[in-house]
């Protein structure tokens, strides 16, 4: 390949065809990379209700999914010798509008934990107990449904929405200015 030496002076305005083709090949490669990665790694993001419904009809077999719910504080059990953590999460709606109707995420989490009629899902996880795991935390779990109807998590993401902002401090002194 030594064609560059005899290359004709090209027109000033147009980019040669081979660069356009080369560029398209690179772009196509990247698009293919994104599409194929997406296909093999995309996960359903489900609520507890949806996860239970889908797993009953066998739709989730062997699939990696994400589930979100509210942590029931009393259900947290930790087997220290095997580092096996288990806890139960309760159904929280994922829709922003439904959340707003319940009075915001913090309130919705509280309702989910106190309401006996919500559906529950037992979660099992092997590893250190996460720092933020506590009652009424929002848990976002990645993993798969087991045939037993439990959820085997390999990643736990937790959020405690009320913690840092907006809550009026508990001890308040009243002073006249």
């Amino acid at each position: 390949m030594s064609e560059y030496q005899e290359m004709e002076p090209t027109s000033r305005k147009r980019t040669p065809l081979k660069f356009i083709v080369g560029g398209l090949v690179i772009v196509a490669g990247i698009i293919f990379l994104i599409a194929s990665s997406l296909k093999s790694t995309a996960q359903y993001f489900l609520t507890v209700d949806e996860a239970l419904a889908k797993s009953q009809v066998g739709e989730l077999e062997g699939r990696n999914i994400r589930v979100s719910g509210a942590v029931l504080g009393d259900s947290i059990e930790y087997d220290i010798d095997n580092l096996e953590l288990s806890f139960t999460i309760a159904q929280v709606p994922a829709d922003n509008q439904l959340l707003a109707e319940e009075g915001g995420l913090a309130q919705a989490l509280h309702n989910a934990v106190t309401d006996q009629n919500r559906s529950h899902l037992k979660v099992i996880y092997h590893g250190p107990i996460p720092d933020l795991l506590k009652d009424e935390a929002q848990a976002i779990l990645t993993g798969e449904m087991l045939p037993s109807g439990e959820f085997l998590a390999d990643e736990i993401l937790l959020k405690c929405p009320t913690k840092y902002e907006g809550a009026v401090p508990e001890q308040i002194d009243l002073e006249q200015e």
């Binding site: 390949m1 030594s2 560059y4 030496q5 290359m7 090209t10 027109s11 000033r12 305005k13 980019t15 040669p16 660069f19 080369g22 560029g23 690179i26 772009v27 990247i30 990379l33 994104i34 990665s37 997406l38 093999s40 790694t41 995309a42 996960q43 359903y44 993001f45 489900l46 994400r66 979100s68 930790y78 220290i80 010798d81 580092l83 995420l105 590893g127 250190p128 107990i129 720092d131 933020l132 929002q138 976002i140 990645t142 990643e155 993401l157 959020k159 929405p161 913690k163 840092y164 902002e165 907006g166 009026v168 401090p169 001890q171 308040i172 002194d173 009243l174 002073e175 006249q176 200015e177």
Partner: protein, 673 residues
Amino acid sequence: MVAEIGFGAIFITLIFTLYGIGAAIYGDRTKSQRWILSAHQVLKLVFPVMTISVGSLLYLLATDHFEVVYVADVSSRSMPLYLKLTALWGGQAGSLLFWSWLLAGFSSAVAFRKWDRDRDLLPWVIVVNLVTLAFFLVLNVFYENPFTRYWQDASGILVSFSRPEGAISVFPRDGGGLNPLLRHPGMIIHPPMQYLGFAGFIIPFSFAMASLIKKRSDDRWIRLSRGWTLWAWMFLSLGLVLGARWAYDVLGWGGYWGWDPVEISALMPWLTGTAYLHAVLIQEKRNMFKDWSLVLIILTYLLVIYGTFITRSGLLSSVHSFAQSRIGPIFLVFLTLTILVSAWLLSSRWKILRADHVLEQVLSREGLIIIGVVLFLGMLVASFWGVLFPILSELVTGQKVTVGPPFYERVAAPIMGGLLILMVLCPLAVWSIVSYKHLGRLLWKPFLVSLAGIALPLWGGYNRWPAVIAFWLVAFVLAVNFFEIIRRTRVRRKTEAESWGTALLHVLKRNQRSYSAMIVHIGVVLMALGIIGIEFFQTETQATLAEGQQLSLGSYTMTYEDLAVFDAPDARNVARAVVSVERDGRVLGELYPRRDFYYDSGQPVTIPGVRSTLLDDFYVILVDWKAVTSEGATFKVYHNPLVKWLWVGSLVFIAGVVFATWPGKKTNPRQER
């Protein structure tokens, strides 16, 4: 009183900026230097006035004024003074104020530069800076006022800035305290660096917009803002690295980067900013791809605003969502307006952006850079798609589908590989045309040396093929750079009859830009070394040990010696284990993994004990312990090969950027090769 001063200062700055915007536009339209001068003065003033506001908030934080809601939210009596001060960016309202302050700093600094040339750009630089600042000030005044206070009347506790009628002041005894996860040196510097990087990109953007508005087709705007861009880019890079370091040191999962939505949104402006830095090289040297430079800097600015919005809106679930907020809609409005205005400016001036040359050869330096830019943009598209995909899929199918780290890893790895190949060729390629023969002559020696980059890890047992390829590319980049420096020094030594030392010094000095690029690239491949090490070869194990028992991982053995539980003065309970580490029978030292429990927030923080060498890290987490009997403690242990190169490489990287901005003899870039 101090709260009034602080809020008053924000408000006055907002009035100033609105006046300045009007004055600059009017001055430019009527060609009245007096109005432009007046707007110019405003630009100089915004920083000092904002400093009063930030100073007020710092004062309130330092003196425990918990009647101010923000102070009660993020500070507490038991915190040491330096943490009280850094609580300035520990919550939503304060960090927005801090952001505005940094932005005002950049704006005022650009006002104080010499404006003896290119005065036609000045009014629009002022306008773009002030519009951005005004946007953030509006957020602070109307949505996220850091100076609102608690009041009480018959109906209960109220939150408001000014005293509601019939209400009395309320003074909480103590505040909630800073989120414990944020009480770490890495977390103290990480946000300011990130914000400095974000805010700094306003300068090149404002010059780009000014140049577009003025219908100029030259590259003055790039040259004028080059130094600013480099500094902004350095701060952004530093911010990302410090964030990674903080995650490694505090979050205790043995990792450094989790493809969390907030991490991605901080990475995106870095991707476009990096692409921009490369694209402008071509525009400066060859006067090509002017449109690319403009599109890239506009994208960077949009992504900076978007990044701030994501980090601060609590929209996405992530480790960074420390706050929830209602500032979402106004951010979207501002983003949309910016997109519309930029798109209109670009399309109406598209014709004057035509290039002087065309691409002649792929292996020329401009060809390589363009491929690099495309790869950066590919990563950007993947990142953006990863964030957008769940939303789109929900809209289309009604079912939310997400993508996690595996998606980003699968896309990022080949792109990183492509970038490494480009970095091999980059120091050898010259502008416009390269001869393949010449290239081959320069490549064969470094190629042979780089084969050692395969042999060494194979010998050490690191033998997964993607990793081996990556190791080889890293070695190849290092070898090419090394040989190239030697070659040029030798040429200089021959022609000028100098000693090796002087010749090397002269070579480095004479072409500061190209060598700073080399240093930055060396930094990047060293970081890549660390990433390959931990991504491909991390191993882990866990066990519950009684005192005196041992646990082995790889060639390491650790012994659980002791555990102490005690209260620290800053209202936390500390459980601290002592483990001794040995390898091949040799005792290496003790590690102290611990768990801090913060009483005020009721939250524990896990701090690993790490023994770090250039070869590997031994990383111990204290998972749990039996409190009373002290009969056992549970540990999780990671072996992270080569990860220290990630931090070493980032230091080299930063050094390279500093070298690039170092004021030296300015060579005329057009004469450089």
